[in-house]
């Protein structure tokens, strides 16, 4: 009723889901992101023992197409990422000439740039 776990629910969570000192992996953390191009004061982060640092790039091989979903669709951001990964794959073995550049250059008009 107060939005917190009941005693029964707490015991269930504690037993089945809670990570603690007895677990090898005591927690997970997403690497903190910061801007390289803005002058930011950053505190160097020491990886804590037992805290598993999640990787954003480990599964990129699988991220070149939308995987099946259930009840919700992929977000715009997700589709954006996938399309760039596909684009990169398409350009990976290009040498010298860039197909994207060749395709888009005919449309360049300097008044649009200004």
């Amino acid at each position: 009723k107060d939005g917190l776990l009941s005693e029964e629910e707490f015991n269930l969570w504690n037993r089945l889901y809670r990570l603690g000192d007895s677990d090898t992996v005591k927690g997970v953390a997403l690497p903190r992101s910061h801007f390289l191009s803005l002058q930011e004061d950053r505190v160097a982060q020491e990886p804590t023992t037992g805290i598993h640092q999640l990787s954003l790039s480990e599964w990129s091989v699988w991220q070149d197409h939308p995987l099946p979903t259930h009840q919700v669709e992929h977000s715009d951001r997700c589709h954006h990422f996938i399309s760039i990964m596909q684009m990169i794959e398409g350009m990976r073995h290009e040498e010298d000439e860039c197909s994207y550049e060749l395709k888009i250059k005919p449309f360049l008009q300097m008044e649009d740039v200004y």
Partner: protein, 32 residues
């Protein structure tokens, strides 16, 4: 744009390269 380029450069430097190619950009893309 600047952030993407700078991150790409950072990745290339970490790999001891003096060229940023799509391989390097791909690695920084998720966080970007």
């Amino acid at each position: 744009v600047i952030e993407a380029a700078v991150r790409g450069v950072s990745q290339a430097q970490a790999e001891d390269l003096d060229v940023v190619d799509v391989d390097q950009l791909e690695k920084v893309l998720p966080q970007l």
